[in-house]
Symmetry: C2
Amino acid sequence: MHASTDPVAPLDAPCSDAAGIAVAFDDILAAATRIAGHAHATPVLRSRLLDAAAGCQLYFKAEHLQRTGAFKFRGACNAVWSLDASVAERGVVTHSSGNHGAALALAAKTRGIACHVVVPEGAVRSKRSAIESYGATIHDCPAGLEARERRCAQVQRETGATLVHPYADGRVIAGQGTAALELLGATGPLPLDAIVVPVGGGGLAAGTAIAARALAPGCRVYVAEPAGAADTCQSLLRGERVTDVVPDTVCDGLRATVGAPNFALLQAHGVEALTVDDTDTIAAMRLLLQRTKQCVEPSSAIALAAILLHRDRFAGQRVGVVLSGGNIDLDALPWRQG
Amino acid sequence: MHASTDPVAPLDAPCSDAAGIAVAFDDILAAATRIAGHAHATPVLRSRLLDAAAGCQLYFKAEHLQRTGAFKFRGACNAVWSLDASVAERGVVTHSSGNHGAALALAAKTRGIACHVVVPEGAVRSKRSAIESYGATIHDCPAGLEARERRCAQVQRETGATLVHPYADGRVIAGQGTAALELLGATGPLPLDAIVVPVGGGGLAAGTAIAARALAPGCRVYVAEPAGAADTCQSLLRGERVTDVVPDTVCDGLRATVGAPNFALLQAHGVEALTVDDTDTIAAMRLLLQRTKQCVEPSSAIALAAILLHRDRFAGQRVGVVLSGGNIDLDALPWRQG
């Protein structure tokens, strides 16, 4: 693990120094051991109806059944349990409007240390409540990356807490990679032909790409990205990180700009991006609810939507799909009621 | 199996002749063998958050993950595969506004025989679509038991199809009992202290009571019933079947009056009834969605609601809960959107 554990590093530092983060398959194996007593080994679900709809064999890694309702707990847990005791006792801090905040809060609780979460205005109500329910201290701040970073740096100075970035962090990337590690291990001796995961900041995507290359070199990795927040897609096309996309999507977990180290890893592993309109994502979310009775958030359903939109690419194949989370606001479902 | 297989028996005949239906534990074992190649052995789900909320250990039998999205497939499948070939080839018929219709349609499809479903006006749209999607012939009829029975008898006369009643049928009761058979087998050597199931016509309830008595004699069986359709509760209190309750509940699967043979079996097995207001049922449905990401219909969530309402009765115990189905109309969720 090569990520900095300097508790007062500037928030975005790892992003601007891609060379500073190197994550290897061994880091994912170490993460798997580290989080084993805390995180769930989630099931892999099948649906013959969805197989028929997609024209391929789908293996759904059910991370919406992970603790805190999202894969984010894996990375947060790995980060928290990677810290030396003397560093850990000063607590951890992050900025998050959603699942990473709740994940870090619970991860800190498993180690009995303090957790601070900087939450911007406009965060989804239910996700804010979850962060509180796991016992973290919430620090409100205005929307916008700059305000978040300032508030986060202030908390670091005041408390000495270690920053655990939501995605541009080697410990976090390694932790997220354990989902694909389990998925590839559970789908039998015949390797998967492809894995599709959603992409926001790129923690899950980078970890998945590393695990897939090590365990199933022929397995292609696709990231599904909202058309209204397609910075990763544009970055991969241009060959350089695009940072000026203003996100406009129902996928509240995928509004972040891909991190610099994450982008470097996706590029190095030949990951391909598929963009999806929100209407298709919402249709996939409804389909999952109706057909599999599984409640996933739009930021997860997008992966199935991408497969349904690109049937030719996956026809007849064995395709892994990470259902990344299931935390939705039931009072604000993304479709109109009849 | 002692139920009549006379294909032209009047629809409600088994109800009015309780002595004509005797279901034994052996019938449930036979049903388990009969349906094994067709029905899913559904998982038993746990949730530490819901355990904490309920103050007991909950074992959720996930019948919303059963084929057709409800336990009903078990009974329908057992009935269809119980028929002699010469009888089966004339098809099956039932009346149902919901899950039993879809279940019988798919069960008939597994045997390659025709299925007729009499659907009353006002049936939930998504459930009607499901019946069609499994290839059954739908026969519309006005609402009300009398109209249904008349239409059903007419189809029987015209086609020679065998009636498979939704609940007042020994083959159906034995099939539904296989859910509890699996649940009691999956929850370890320590027997459950109680099982809670929803009650409408009483097929699942009767099958559960028979399985529990045979496998875990100390295990109490409770039925959860909507306060607005509490005929079973009133029947058990009075010691005779009450048939004049006009149902008014959001639980569309629980509006039927308890069948005569079903009531006789519930009485004989000392089953207790717990009534639940719709608001508590809807709250439990939301809780299951939020905390376990499982989409169940109100007619299923009522069982969890009953436990949360009667915490003292279950405190510290190991309690089985049959999540009986997950078929909801996503455009008409039973809560207001904010």
